[in-house]
Amino acid sequence: MQEQMEALRLRFLERLREEQSLLGSEPLTDAAVAVHRLAGAAGVFGYAELGRRALAVDQALQSGTPPAALDIAALAQEIERVLTHG
């Protein structure tokens, strides 16, 4: 079980690296899908802070208001931190 979850965590990180470039790029729908995915999945793999920051952006997107630049920056910073430090 632990080994399998670890394998999934590593795969999650691989996708995170691929999705990092989506943030702030066109089309916005791709970025929105990636942010929503992070909001639901990051916490399962131990990245609760990443999930919280993604949820802040996702909630803004859901309500139809542009996400705050600060929230997007915080999410980008957390993605970078996770990818750097694991």
Partner: protein
């Protein structure tokens, strides 16, 4: 413990496989997975034993969770109870999903160690 057949539907492979692992921690839970609403409906149309509960991701491409629940409800015969899985679990969204006939809403990210018990708890409250 009572045997429980679960059908888990989610388009995200990471979360789908993690949920499958977590549910299997309960040896009396049997898990089927589907990566889309269409795949879930195809599974339900086979001769395989019907699930006792369906867990539906809310936001999926093509057919989202609520649309899938409506399609399941439109099938002939008694249909299993449904639980929605969503990261957007604010009270108004939770109320909207419950009003669609779900027996529960589980917030994503779910607790890996508590998912099986949470599902059992929601199912045991049915009826």
């Amino acid at each position: 413990m009572t045997m429980l057949r679960v059908l888990y539907v989610d388009d995200d492979p990471d979360i789908r496989e993690a949920a499958e692992l977590c549910l299997r921690m309960d040896p009396d839970i049997e898990v089927q997975v589907a990566d889309s609403g269409a795949a879930a409906l195809a599974l339900l149309a086979t001769d395989a034993p019907r699930p006792d509960v369906v867990l539906l991701d809310v936001m999926m491409p093509q057919m989202d969770g609520p649309a899938l629940l409506a399609a399941i409800r439109a099938r002939p015969g008694a249909q299993p109870p449904a639980i929605f899985m969503t990261a957007r679990a604010m009270p108004e969204e939770r109320a909207r999903l419950m009003a669609l006939g779900a027996v529960g809403v589980i917030t994503k990210p779910f607790n890996p160690l508590g998912l099986a018990a949470e599902v059992r708890g929601l199912v045991s409250g049915v009826g």
